[in-house]
Subunit: 359 residues, 2 copies
């Protein structure tokens, strides 16, 4: 008489999220297998003179697009914008998009209004690109060019590896447009190695810090320049997995109003990286401290933030533009750990589903 | 023996803010005295082919710019973007701005990085415009063209009449660029009349509602399309005068993560106007209600939001694009009343000064 098979162990809360955070160095390496396609698509955009880059996406995809503004601005010197989907799709505005590259960002390639936007942008004369994990998706089908994200099947509801690869992909495309794609790809390989070491180290240090935030209901997340994308992404993770009203702000935004809301129960997460915006971030952190708020300093220039209550350093990448690929990780792991401390399952956020199909 | 002069009565908390909210119909009328200048500058931009509109400003000015995206997109069909000041001023990105109009928004005309941006944009080939209350300011001096806001001296720290006039000014400029400025100006006159009636009515109804929010620490403010500017502006007023962590979201943003944070202690302010985005706003409100959150419905389509806990209707303007000029007022008065209910003085927000000089 054989005993029955033991039942599989119950899922650990947040295990999918953690698995995908850990997978990020590998995901980045997979993206780089597609480098030739990025080079080809960048050349096509350049040949067409499509140097205004209109990026559209929701949630984490839109956050990655905020990085794209800097990648295209700093590398080929192109104007990139997070375009309004509503303007084109809901209101039917007729914009002349000749001279534009329209870049639809969607993990699944199924987001309806992103698909619809790309279709309309194509009719309006834009060079259209789908940036997606699924090169067989509807979005890929409608666009003239497809750039595979290579992040691999996403099982977690809160995006992590997809976001990381979107940021890297936009950087790679911008670098190829600027004629320095090869060097950028090499730098991405270095960052993948840095992530390999960073993630396990943060897994050890972050949970203890997160514990102190168990009863926090609101936070600001401050980043400037390319790190504003990181601030947006970390704030979104905190919102969706920890139910914290977390608002992303640039260092300058803070001074224009929100600083008035701060008090000792309103912690501020600061991302400080070694680039020309660092003095503004340091100054903003000073105002936070004056207001008596708890201050978390992260990024490769975390030590520049005087008087921080908590410090989570990240390694310095080969060039400053790549820092968002590293500085987002403390936030991802903090959200994962804090959700658990709050008794929430980050793999089952209330009211969210994997693919958001509603317009 | 004469008794000493009686001391002047102490300032009533928020009296400056309230005075400027009340002044808005008049401020709008003053803007319209400058209509000819708007017509002239729009013609200059058109003649130069400067049809990509780069708007820069901080705080309320940046919120008004979010309206500009729709005004220029829907009226002349131009691409307008809230450009990154950081990219140009801090990182020194060299963008080709031929074919661009660069529009600096600053109440005082003194905001240093806005002045610096406009100067650099001019060198990069943009047609530069200063939109300011002070046509003798540094910003006005650096730009090729000056558009007076006409809002009059601003004494309150939280902007209200300046924001309203910035929105109207961007609309007027866009309408003239589209060859229908005269009609738009007439519509603005109608709105000024609607504001005359709306403001006293809301002054009577809003304080009682605000009282119920005395202990609220976080809120979402939802608006879509041109009303996203309104959502941003109302959230900023709540942050700076009421110390509420208020986050502006589009109806679609909400579904991509933040909905997971909602609970009955997390109220949501919804702006519903009669335009093509109304179904998306109604659907988002439905999700808010399902999450058990308290729902405030405002705007000229407030009645389309089923099951709202509080309703603050605004009149329907002559055309949908003008609705943000009316729908912002309930939020302004709510912030004023709620700050007082919380025992705060909206005329003295912690840590803020009138002109933000820091970069």
């Amino acid at each position: 008489m054989s005993s029955p098979e033991p039942a599989p162990p119950p899922a650990e809360p947040g295990e999918k999220l953690l698995a995908e955070i850990r997978e990020q160095p590998l995901a980045l390496a997979r993206l780089l297998e597609h480098e030739a396609e990025y080079a080809r698509v960048a050349a096509a955009a350049r040949d067409r003179g499509a140097t205004t880059v209109r990026m559209v996406g929701h949630g984490s995809s839109d956050n990655a697009a905020a990085f794209g503004v800097y990648a295209f601005g700093l590398l080929p010197g192109w104007t990139a914008l997070r375009d309004s989907i509503t303007l084109t799709v809901y209101y039917g505005a007729e914009l002349d998009m000749a001279g534009s590259t329209a870049l639809g960002l969607s993990q699944s390639g199924q987001t309806p209004d992103v698909v619809e936007y790309v279709e309309r942008a194509r009719r309006s004369g834009a060079f259209t690109i789908a940036l997606t994990n699924d090169p067989a998706s509807e979005l890929a089908d409608r666009a003239e060019a497809v750039l595979p994200l290579g992040a691999g099947a996403e099982r977690s509801i809160a995006a992590t590896k997809t976001y990381l690869n979107q940021v890297a992909a936009l950087g790679l495309l911008a670098a190829h447009a600027a004629g320095r794609g090869r060097a950028f790809a090499e730098e991405l390989r270095v960052v993948a190695g840095q992530l390999e070491e960073l993630i396990p180290a943060l897994e050890r240090s972050v949970p203890q810090i997160a514990l102190a935030f168990t009863f926090v209901g609101r936070m600001f997340v401050i980043g400037r320049g390319p790190e504003f994308a990181t601030a947006r992404e970390i704030a979104l993770k905190l919102l969706e997995t920890c139910r914290i009203a977390a608002e992303p702000l640039t260092a300058t935004d803070l001074a224009h109003g929100p600083v008035a809301a701060l008090d000792p129960l309103f912690p501020v997460w600061t991302i400080a990286s070694h680039d020309d915006s660092l003095p503004a971030v340091v100054e903003a952190a000073g105002r936070v401290r004056e207001a008596g708020a708890t201050l978390v300093a992260t990024g490769d220039a975390a030590d520049a933030i005087a008087g921080a209550d908590y410090v989570l350093r990240t390694p310095r990448p080969p060039s400053p533009l790549l820092s968002p690929l590293l500085s987002v990780v403390p936030g991802q792991l903090f959200a994962w750990a804090l959700a658990r401390a709050k008794g929430l399952d980050p793999d089952s956020p209330a009211g969210l589903s994997k693919v958001t199909l509603a317009l």
